[in-house]
């Protein structure tokens, strides 16, 4: 028995080895470098100046957080009803909707963003259509709305899918029990379905909020350069070695912000029903 156990644990460790190497090379090491650059200056001396200088970027942080928040809230408002509808509708409708939702995920984010640009551009499909129908053009690209729209368009599936998964697994007996105890369908939704799908909601929020707050591509393309978000700022800093240190400091702060928000989210989901949230 004993040798059996040892043999198994050895095997398990061997199986985990590639992942360990991978993690060290591509996760732990970069993180270490981010930390290192964030707290050193060009000569390699330890300093807090990089972090202190971040006060200049507080507006960018604020803007990024509010864009990501708005996008997340709208995703939730669209995503929850959609997921709910999908979980209750017939098999074929459900499959079609699921496919429509997954299809864009198979295409690169860059290409998706580009296609959205082509749609919304001043000379794009939407405006051509408006003009040919006799309406004037509307300027969308370059507005804050376009950036948020881009985020919603790109990340909506990450909101819908976890909620949908939780809702399909929800035992219909709970719904029957609630109806039996006097709930009309609205009360069933509020008292049973929504509370029981909270883990999916939390995970959806996390999966939309985190990429939204760190994206740089969407704001550059759809914001027409008018909106500097954290992601854009970090990208710019890392394009020149002299500003690596500021870039690393911003990255570090953002990571900490994300970790804090994920931790807060995890608090909301019940300890017993979690499991979705990373």
């Amino acid at each position: 028995m004993r040798s059996n156990v040892r043999y198994r644990s050895l095997l398990e460790r061997a199986a985990a080895a590639p992942h360990m190497v991978w993690s060290i090379l591509f996760i732990v090491a970069p993180l270490f470098f981010v930390l290192y650059f964030a707290i050193t200056d060009a000569e390699g001396h330890i300093t807090l100046n990089n972090l202190a200088s971040l006060t200049d970027y507080s507006n960018i942080f604020l803007l990024s957080v509010s864009f990501a928040l708005i996008a997340t809230i709208i995703c939730l408002l669209i995503g929850y009803p959609l997921a709910y509808f999908m979980s209750r509708t017939g098999k074929t409708t459900r499959r079609v909707l699921l496919l429509l939702l997954m299809l864009p995920m198979w295409i690169s984010l860059l290409i998706r963003t580009y296609s959205l640009m082509a749609l919304l551009d001043n000379g794009g499909l939407l405006n051509s259509l408006l003009v040919s129908l006799g309406f004037g053009r509307i300027r969308i690209i370059g507005t804050g709305g376009a950036v948020i729209l881009g985020m919603i368009y790109d990340f909506l599936p990450y909101m819908v899918l976890p909620i949908y998964t939780v809702l399909t697994k929800l035992d219909p007996r709970y719904i029957e029990a609630a109806a039996d105890l006097g709930c009309n369908s609205l009360q069933v939704l509020g008292k049973v379905i929504i509370p029981l799908s909270l883990p999916g909601v939390i995970s959806g929020i996390t999966m939309v909020f985190v990429p939204s707050i760190s994206t740089f591509y969407i704001s550059q393309k759809l914001g027409g350069g008018a909106f500097d978000l954290i992601g854009d700022t970090i990208e710019r800093q890392f394009q020149h070695p002299s500003t690596y240190h500021t870039g690393a400091a911003i990255s570090l702060v953002m990571m900490i912000l994300i970790i804090i928000s994920v931790a807060i989210m995890n608090r909301f989901s019940d300890s017993n029903s979690g499991g979705f949230v990373v």
Binding site: D171, R173, Y174, E176, A177, A178, A179, D180, L181, G182, C183, N184, Q187, K191, V192, P195, L196, L198, D270, N272, S273
Partner: protein
């Protein structure tokens, strides 16, 4: 005096995927009655209950509540609460909130909710469990929370779908008494579903025997036991010797090659029938006085009586007697005319054999133990 009819099922039929599950069910349920649906697994008991609760709509037929047709009334507007077959307690709420659920929907004051939930917890013997999460309860405790959650709403009718199936024997007996007392005290109409014939006989005012989506017999426990209407009923309720026979004329039945006097009449001449004789109605007598003669195959001591299997012309009878008989002995059998129950042949007749394969047959026809999947460990500590 008989109470007024509270719920009436009229010609209810229901099928799933082309398979008939309920076939023309007619049933009157009276106010304050304790009525039990009894039958083997899959015979449509739960489906009947779900139609009364409003969770299924019948394909045809009507459901009446106090004279009003309620086919289309949604569950939340029916004055009925259910104890579900597998509890369905809300996993996001603790014991207190589970029980308080219906009261909160009714928007009662916090104080009243508190008092009524407390009362219920006392009633089901779960004092101090308020804050416990339902997933940390044993099967039996969960079942009692489910009972409390339904009962606290003071419904006109309580539907109970095998509520005691997960409890161990002792607790089951206690809860049977408890439920019966609750029913008497609250005057709530109980519609109770069980596989367990003993449970049905001890608790109910009225027993409804079901098989294959049809009602076989409705009656008081005593009537059902003493006057089963067909071989199925007789076999499902208690023990019975069921023998192929022929009704020669009124009051004369022939079986096992002999003609017997009986009290039954109204059959056609020479009509094939099922003869049902309860094991305790058969007397063991010396061979020379026996109406039939057989050889003892097996004797089992059962505490109060012996259970004797006797081979009469290759048909195995079960006899319950307080006098010891030796295995291998040849004995006489004596049957009083009023112990012979003559029944029309039904489609179940061919399914029912003699006592040669006693245990297997019992399992096939009643499945009593099959659903006790959850081990009933009880934790009283705390």
């Amino acid at each position: 005096m008989e109470k007024p009819v509270l719920i009436r099922l009229k010609g209810i039929s229901k099928s799933f995927d082309g398979e008939t599950v309920l076939d023309n069910i007619d049933l009157d349920i009276h106010d304050e009655e304790f009525i039990t649906l009894l039958g083997p697994s899959g015979c449509g008991k739960t489906t009947t209950l779900r139609i009364i609760g409003g969770f299924e709509t019948p394909d045809s037929g009507d459901v009446f509540f106090e004279g009003k047709r309620i086919n289309d009334l949604p569950p939340y507007r029916r004055q009925v609460n259910t104890v579900f077959q597998r509890y369905a307690l809300f996993p996001h709420l603790n014991v207190f909130e589970n029980i308080a659920f219906g009261l909160r929907i009714k928007k009662l004051s916090e104080k009243e909710i508190r008092t009524r939930v407390k009362e219920m917890l006392e009633l089901v013997n779960l004092r101090g469990f308020e804050k416990r999460h339902v997933s940390t309860l044993s099967g039996g405790q969960q079942q009692r929370v489910a009972i409390a959650r339904a009962l606290v709403n003071n419904p006109k009718v309580l539907l109970l779908d095998e509520p005691l199936a997960a409890l161990d024997l002792k607790l089951r007996k206690d809860m049977q008494n408890e439920l019966k007392n609750i029913q008497k005290k609250t005057h709530i109409t109980f519609i109770y579903v069980t596989h367990d014939q003993e449970e049905a006989l001890t608790m109910s005012d009225t027993v409804v025997v079901m098989a294959e989506g049809r009602i076989q017999q409705i009656g008081s426990p005593v009537d059902i036991y003493n006057e089963p209407v067909n071989a199925f009923s007789a076999d499902f309720i208690g023990e019975s010797n069921i023998i192929d026979g022929v009704m020669l004329e009124d009051y004369k039945a022939k079986f096992s090659g002999k003609v017997f006097d009986c009290l039954d009449f109204g059959f056609e001449k020479n009509e094939p029938v099922d003869i049902v004789i309860r094991p305790e109605d058969v007397d063991v007598v010396p061979v020379e006085r026996g109406m039939l003669v057989g050889k003892v195959v097996n004797v089992t001591f059962k505490g109060v009586h012996y259970e004797v299997i006797v081979d009469v012309d290759d048909y195995k009878w079960m006899i319950q007697t307080t006098d010891y008989v030796a295995p291998e002995a040849t004995i006489g059998i004596y049957i009083e005319p009023d112990a012979i129950h003559v029944m029309k042949k039904s489609k179940y007749s061919s399914l029912i054999g003699d006592y040669s394969s006693y245990s297997e047959e019992l399992e096939r026809l009643s499945d009593v133990d099959e659903i006790r999947e959850e081990p009933a460990e009880e934790r009283y500590a705390e």
